[in-house]
C-alpha cells in the first residue's frame, strides 16, 4: 500500500474535495474544501483535476511521512510552506517524495486553511459521491490524527510541476454580498450600520460558520423564522445580533433570519481571513454574483494549462521567480 501517514498535526485536519451534492433534501451537508481555490492550486501542482480529494489543515501545520512511494506532493495555502527533510520547496511547485521521506507543512501564516495534495488524489472511500469529511454527521469519515494513513497511488513517472501564474494574493477588498431572503426584516438604519462597519472574525469560527463580532444587527421581526433552506455563505443573524456566515459544513436548513448571502466567488477569500482580522461587506447584484462565479470557474478550469513541468531532476526552485504576476483583487 502507498500512503501518506500523519506524523503530527493540529486539530480539525480532514480530507476534503469539492463537496457532496444531491443529498441536501435528506439533511446531508455538502461539506467540501473551505477554500476551493487553494484546493485547486494544490491539486494542479500535483497534476490533478482541481477538485480531487486533498488534506485540509486548519491553522496549524503538519508532518507527513510517505509509506511506499514515490509520490508527487504539493501544498498550498496563504503563507503555507513545504519542506522535505528540512529543505524548503517553493509554494508554487510540487515535489517527488520517496518511501519514508518526511514532509513538513508550515502553518498558513497569512490565512486559515492549507491543502496538501498528492498525485492521483487521496483515495479514501467515497461516501455518497464525495470523500469530504462532514465532522458533525461522520459522513466521509472523522477528522484525522497522528497515525492515520491516507491511501494514494504511486507516481513514479510524474515530474514535479510549477505554476507560472495564478498564485494571487487574496486581497483585502470588501466581501461581496447579495441581500438575503429576509433582507427586509432589517431596517434601513440597520443595513447602513452593517455596510459601514467592520466585523471581526471570532475565534469561535469553524467549518460550520464564521462568527463575526461588531455592531449588533436587530431584526424588526424577531430572530426566529420558520426554518428554510440555507447555503454556504448565508449570513444568519441570531438573537445576539452578531452575524454568522455559514461555512461549507453548515446544516441544510436554518431558522435564523438571513440578512444577506456572500457570493460564491468570495467564499474562499472569506474562509482565509485570519481570526481577529476585520472584514467589511459591500452589496452587489445577483447578476454580478453570477458573473463572478463564472469568472472564477473559468479560472479553475484553466489552471491545468498553467502548470509546467520542472525541468531537471533536482531543481533549485528558489532560483526561479515562480510567483510571477502577483495581483490583487476580488476575482481569481
Amino acid at each position: 500500500m502507498i500512503a501518506l501517514e500523519i506524523v503530527q498535526c493540529g486539530p480539525g485536519v480532514s480530507v476534503q474535495d469539492a463537496g457532496r451534492f444531491g443529498f441536501r433534501r435528506f439533511g446531508v451537508s455538502t461539506a467540501g474544501a473551505m477554500d476551493r481555490r487553494a484546493l485547486a492550486l494544490a491539486n494542479t501542482l500535483a497534476g490533478n483535476p482541481p477538485d480531487a480529494a486533498a488534506l485540509e489543515l486548519p491553522l496549524a501545520g503538519a508532518e507527513l511521512r510517505v509509506i511506499g512511494g514515490p509520490v508527487l506532493v504539493a501544498a498550498h495555502g496563504p503563507g503555507t510552506t513545504l519542506a522535505v527533510s528540512g529543505r524548503p520547496v517553493s509554494e508554487s511547485s510540487s515535489v517527488q517524495l520517496e518511501d519514508d521521506d518526511t514532509v513538513t507543512i508550515g502553518p498558513p501564516q497569512e490565512g486559515v486553511y492549507s491543502y496538501v495534495a498528492v498525485a492521483g488524489g487521496i483515495l479514501t472511500r467515497p461516501v455518497l459521491g464525495s470523500r469530504s469529511c462532514h465532522r458533525r454527521s461522520g459522513i466521509g469519515g472523522d477528522v484525522l490524527s497522528p497515525g492515520d494513513r491516507l491511501p494514494c497511488i504511486g507516481s513514479s513517472d510524474n515530474a514535479p510541476l510549477f505554476l507560472t501564474e495564478g498564485m494571487k494574493d487574496y486581497g483585502r477588498d470588501a466581501i461581496r454580498i447579495v441581500p438575503g431572503p429576509q433582507a427586509d426584516h432589517f431596517e434601513e438604519a440597520t443595513w447602513s450600520r452593517f455596510l459601514s462597519s467592520s466585523y471581526r472574525i471570532s475565534p469561535r469560527s469553524d467549518r460550520m460558520g464564521l462568527r463575526l463580532e461588531g455592531p449588533a444587527l436587530r431584526s424588526s421581526k424577531g430572530h426566529d423564522i420558520v426554518s428554510e433552506g440555507v447555503v454556504p455563505g448565508s449570513v444568519q443573524v441570531p438573537g445576539d445580533g452578531n452575524p454568522i456566515v455559514l461555512g461549507r459544513d453548515c446544516q441544510t436548513t436554518g431558522g435564523y433570519p438571513k440578512i444577506a448571502t456572500v457570493i460564491s466567488a468570495d467564499l474562499d477569500r472569506l474562509a482565509q481571513v485570519p481570526i481577529g482580522r476585520d472584514v467589511r461587506f459591500r452589496v452587489v447584484s445577483e447578476g454580478d454574483a453570477i458573473d463572478a462565479a463564472r469568472r472564477s470557474a473559468r479560472w479553475h478550469s484553466s489552471l491545468g494549462l498553467a502548470a509546467k513541468p520542472v525541468s531537471g531532476s533536482s531543481p533549485d526552485l528558489h532560483s526561479h521567480n515562480l510567483i510571477g504576476g502577483v495581483t490583487k483583487g476580488d476575482d481569481p
Partner: protein, 245 residues
C-alpha cells in the same frame, strides 16, 4: 408587505448566486406544507438545466443552482408558470410508511413529562401521538432527521431549557408544535417520547435514506420485545418501516 400568497403565488428570493428560495408563506400550516411539497415534486419533474437539487421545507423550497449552467431568469419564469398551473392540483402522494415505535420507559424518557404537560395519562398520550397520519415536512439538522407536521396541538410542549448533548439514534421526540424522527445520535432540546427500530439513514443500505420530504408516516406502538427483535433486523440492513401505499 403582507400579501395573500395563495392568491398571488410564491415569492422568489435569492440566496446569492447559488440558490433561489420559492417561498409560499412564513408560517407552519398544513395547507402550506402540502402546497410546498406538491410544487417541489412537480419542479423536480421538469429537470431544469442548472438545478442541482431542491430542499423543500414547511413554507418554501430552496432550489440550489449551478451558476455556470443555470439561466436564473428562465428558472424563475418556469417556477412562476408551474406555481400558476399547480395551484389547484391535489397534494402529492409521497409514500406512506408504517413506523413501529416503542413508547416510554427507556425508549422515551420524557414521555411522562409530556403527558403531565398535556394533562393526559401516558397511555392517552401514546394514543394521541400514534393516531394521526403525519407528513414529512422537512428533513434537516442531521442526515435523515425527519420533521413531521400533523401533531395534535394538545401534545405540543416548549423545548427543554437545557438541550441534551446526545439523544439516541431513531428517537421520536416533540419540540414546540413539531414532532420528529431522529436518525443518528446527536444533540437535542426536544422531549424524547419513544424510539423506533427504523434507521431513517443507514449507509450501505439501499435506499440509504427512507423518508423523503412529502412522504407520510403512521406510527404503530410496539412492545419492548418486538422493538428488540425489529432492531436486530434493522441492524442487519432490513428496512423495518413498511411502505403501505
Amino acid at each position: 408587505m403582507e400579501v395573500d400568497r395563495d392568491a398571488n403565488g410564491p415569492v422568489i428570493r435569492y440566496l446569492g448566486d447559488s440558490a433561489i428560495s420559492v417561498e409560499f408563506g412564513d408560517r407552519i400550516d398544513a395547507g402550506l406544507v402540502s402546497r410546498v411539497h406538491a410544487f417541489d415534486a412537480a419542479l423536480n419533474q421538469l429537470c431544469l438545466v442548472g438545478v442541482i437539487e431542491t430542499v423543500p421545507t414547511y413554507r418554501a423550497t430552496t432550489v440550489h443552482l449551478d451558476p455556470l449552467r443555470a439561466d436564473v431568469r428562465e428558472i424563475e419564469a418556469a417556477v412562476l408558470r408551474l406555481a400558476a398551473t399547480e395551484r389547484d392540483a391535489s397534494g402529492p402522494a409521497g409514500q406512506l410508511w408504517e413506523v413501529p415505535v416503542a413508547y416510554g420507559q427507556d425508549f422515551g424518557i420524557d414521555l411522562d413529562d409530556v403527558a403531565a404537560h398535556a394533562g393526559m395519562t401516558p397511555s392517552d398520550l401514546i394514543e394521541a401521538h400514534a393516531d394521526p397520519e403525519y407528513l414529512v415536512a422537512m428533513v434537516g439538522f442531521l442526515p435523515g432527521f425527519s420533521y413531521l407536521s400533523g401533531l395534535d396541538p394538545r401534545l405540543s410542549m416548549p423545548r427543554r431549557s437545557e438541550p441534551r448533548a446526545r439523544i439516541p439514534a431513531s428517537s421520536i421526540s416533540i419540540g414546540g408544535q413539531q414532532t420528529a424522527i431522529s436518525s443518528i445520535e446527536g444533540p437535542s432540546g426536544w422531549h424524547v417520547i419513544g424510539r423506533t427500530p427504523v434507521r431513517p439513514f443507514q449507509l450501505g443500505r439501499m435506499p440509504e435514506f427512507l423518508f423523503e420530504p412529502g412522504d407520510r408516516i403512521r406510527f404503530r406502538p410496539v412492545s419492548a420485545r418486538e422493538w428488540s427483535q425489529l432492531d436486530r433486523d434493522a441492524a442487519r440492513g432490513a428496512l423495518i418501516a413498511k411502505s403501505i401505499e
